[in-house]
């Protein structure tokens, strides 16, 4: 599914300094019944965000108006658990284009890259600096430059580089998806399949 190109993102960020945030928290299973990719942002972090009666939980960061922006900053091992891509959809649909953490679970990272959310893995030390900067000023901005593979805390100028494989980087910069690539090498695949018994 096509998504917007990603190049440079400068935005304030929403801090979620909790470790091992699993995809059941990002989007609980009972919201996976849709047959279309619509409305998942409304249920992002549903049970941390709302009480059982639907009223917002005041202490949760998404309900705190002083925090906003297109970047979500999470604790270590973000996105563990279920492979549900709905988690990445919910993050995207809510309005985030980038998730920053010191460590990502594999499937969630792949899913993000496939739906146009950039996972930016930073060192534990740099993650602490980001949390500190946001705590000092919730409007502080981060600049994420995909071409340069860098993330910068604009208020302090502190910067760090992040990894992304060259192929995925080009896809994100151009808004391409893997199926476009695979359909272009379909002949190779068919030859391979003929030589691969069931």
């Amino acid at each position: 599914m096509a998504y917007d190109k990603f190049n440079i993102l400068t935005s304030s960020a929403v801090p979620l300094p909790i470790e091992n945030v699993d995809t059941d928290q990002i989007i609980p299973a009972r919201f996976l019944k849709a047959t279309e990719r619509k409305g998942f942002g409304d249920n992002l972090f549903r049970d941390w965000r709302y009480n059982a009666d639907g009223s917002p939980k005041e202490h949760f960061v998404l309900n705190n108006p002083i925090y906003s922006g297109k970047i979500l900053v999470g604790g270590k091992n973000f996105g563990s658990g279920s492979s549900r891509e709905h988690a990445a959809w919910a993050v995207y649909d809510y309005g985030f284009r980038c998730v920053v953490s010191s460590f990502f679970a594999d499937i969630f990272r792949n899913n993000c890259l496939n739906v146009g959310v950039l996972p930016v893995q930073v060192s534990a030390g740099f993650l602490d600096k980001i949390f500190t900067a946001i705590e000092a000023d919730p409007e502080t901005e981060l600049k994420i430059d995909l071409s340069e593979q860098s993330i910068t805390i604009l208020a302090t100028g502190e910067s760090e580089n992040f990894e992304i494989n060259g192929y995925k980087k080009q896809n994100m910069l151009n808004g391409f998806d893997d199926i476009d690539y695979l359909l272009n090498i379909k002949k190779d695949i068919e030859v391979f399949a003929e030589n691969t018994p069931l």
């Binding site: 599914m1 300094p17 909790i18 470790e19 091992n20 699993d22 059941d24 928290q25 609980p28 299973a29 009972r30 996976l32 019944k33 849709a34 047959t35 279309e36 990719r37 049970d47 059982a52 604790g75 270590k76 091992n77 563990s80 658990g81 279920s82 492979s83 549900r84 891509e85 709905h86 990445a88 460590f103 990502f104 679970a105 594999d106 499937i107 792949n110 899913n111 496939n114 739906v115 494989n165 060259g166 192929y167 995925k168 998806d177 893997d178 199926i179 690539y181 695979l182 359909l183 090498i185 379909k186 190779d188 695949i189 391979f192 399949a193 691969t196 018994p197 069931l198």
Partner: protein, 492 residues
């Protein structure tokens, strides 16, 4: 390294030496992965050919929609299999599904399967069941194969020496449309456990033990091979339980080299090769082991005697311990104290608490982790001649109709009934609680499933992961109980 003795001059060029190294010192994982690479992208992922693709109702509809929007069909429907499991009721499956959204999703899969000529084993079909239970049952799972499904517990199929892993919906769309997936090759880890398991220590305990040592992110970026006496001596179903839980330590998958036990299990199943094809397949399958000088990026070794019957006390599967231990103090735990305290607060447990004796409300036996016949046999061995505790609601959910049949044929159903238990119909059920099988807020469930995340078994539900033996002991005592005590009584 035997290779050092080779006379390099006898080889024409570096490439042939490289080929020799490639053929002489590969891990099991390398052998299967490398033989499925259609194309390697420089500074990018491999294009990996997928032999078999399992599809279920929850993670597929948007993928099929993608195909529709692109105007393309499923490339190899004969390599694709669909079942309904995640979002299905476990009572009255013969009646229309009441929940409209669930019914829509089931209908969408049925229609998509029909439109693309994919075999569909929906509700009521004799082959219906949890995707990772029916794959092996029907011989879809094969050694040396690449298998994917839009479900993280696809790692289960690694028990047969397959590379099997969970994927997201965009990737489901990729595989439907091109039978390939784009993945960077993971690093390799081997986990060795030698010696003999103690009494009442099951494959589930082995897995929970490993995860408690590695944490939920300890194997992220790796594909794991399990090796050593414990896995050699384990049944195929036990191996499935262990490989199933690989994802819970962050690994994309886990695998065990196929052996006679593997071949014996798959022989004669519907999708298993027959005749000359079987002989050819066997010749290949017998090459599937890690060479003695193969190198792993990481290797860990444990002793079987270290492992006790396990139970979890927190909100991720790494928060587990021997059932007789006390909940660790925050200061003794690696990682964030705040996250740890938040977890115990959710569970309403305290540092230093004993788990033994804690009252429980629900017991769930089932899931792709522990929903097979051996799990029901283990459960029955404890509850036989006892009664279900009055304070306990028990959901016993077979992994498939085949498992359900075996439960009846072996007389296990009678044992369950005599003890006051009922058997439900197959499905994922309370493992992820998409259907009505939800544990109420604040209640405790001893569950044989795979995840104890906040709200996993229902909003506010509190999950204690354990083996079928521990679940059975809790079901008849109404509290967390060491199953060895009940086994001793039985033997006394």
């Amino acid at each position: 390294m035997g290779l050092l003795k080779i006379d390099l001059h006898s080889y024409l060029n570096f490439e042939s030496l490289q080929n020799l190294i490639d053929t002489m010192s590969k891990t099991l994982f390398d052998k299967v992965w490398d033989s499925h690479v259609v194309k390697h992208i420089e500074n990018g992922p491999d294009v990996l050919f997928i032999d078999r693709h399992l599809v279920h109702e929850v993670t597929s509809p948007v993928a099929f929609l993608g195909l529709k929007n692109r105007g393309i069909k499923v490339l190899y429907p004969e390599r694709t299999f669909a079942t309904a499991d995640h979002n299905t009721p476990t009572l009255n499956q013969h009646l229309p599904v009441k929940d409209q959204l669930s019914a829509n999703q089931l209908r969408a899969l049925e229609e998509n399967a029909a439109a693309h000529n994919i075999p569909y084993w929906g509700l009521g079909h004799e082959k219906n069941g949890i995707v990772h239970v029916i794959g092996p049952e029907n011989g879809i799972t094969a050694p040396g194969a690449t298998i994917v499904c839009g479900d993280s517990h696809t790692s289960t199929h690694g028990a047969f020496g397959a590379i099997a892993f969970g994927i997201g919906t965009s990737e489901v769309e990729m595989v439907l449309s091109t039978q390939c997936i784009m993945q960077p090759k993971p690093k390799k880890m081997r986990i060795n456990i030698n010696g003999s398991l103690s009494k009442a220590v099951t494959p589930k305990d082995v897995a929970l033990f490993i995860i408690s040592k590695l944490t939920t992110s300890g194997a992220t970026g790796y594909f794991v091979e399990y090796a050593g006496d414990v896995f050699k001596n384990m049944s195929m179903e036990g191996r499935m339980t262990v490989c199933n839980l690989s994802i819970e330590m962050g690994a994309r998958g886990g695998m065990i080299a196929p052996d006679e036990k593997t071949f014996e299990y798959i022989k004669g199943r519907e999708y298993t090769p027959k005749g000359a094809d079987w002989d050819n397949a066997m010749a290949y399958w017998k090459t599937l082991y890690s060479d003695s000088d193969a190198v792993f990026d990481k290797e860990l070794t444990f002793e079987a005697s270290e492992i006790e019957p396990m139970i979890t006390y927190g909100t991720n599967p790494g928060m587990g311990m021997g059932i007789k231990n006390d909940i660790p103090l925050a200061e003794a735990v690696e990682g964030g104290v705040a996250t740890y305290k938040k977890s115990l607060e959710y569970m309403a447990f305290h540092e230093g608490d004993a788990m033994i004796g804690k009252p429980i409300d629900f017991v769930f036996l089932g899931s792709c982790t522990n929903g097979r016949i051996e799990d029901f046999r283990a459960f029955a061995s404890i509850i036989k001649g006892r009664k279900k505790a009055e304070n306990v609601t028990a959901w016993l959910v077979p992994g498939s109709h085949r498992v359900e049949e075996a439960i009846k044929e072996e007389g296990i159903l009678d044992i369950l009934h005599e003890a006051g238990f009922e058997l439900r119909e197959p499905g994922c059920s309370a493992c992820l609680a998409m259907n009505d099988d939800k544990v109420p807020a604040g209640k405790y469930a001893v569950s044989t499933s795979n995840r104890n995340f906040e709200g996993r078994q229902g909003p506010g539900a509190r999950t204690l992961l354990a083996s079928p033996l521990v679940a059975a002991a809790a079901a008849v005592t109404g509290k967390v109980t060491d199953p060895r005590e009940l086994m001793e009584e039985a033997f006394a």
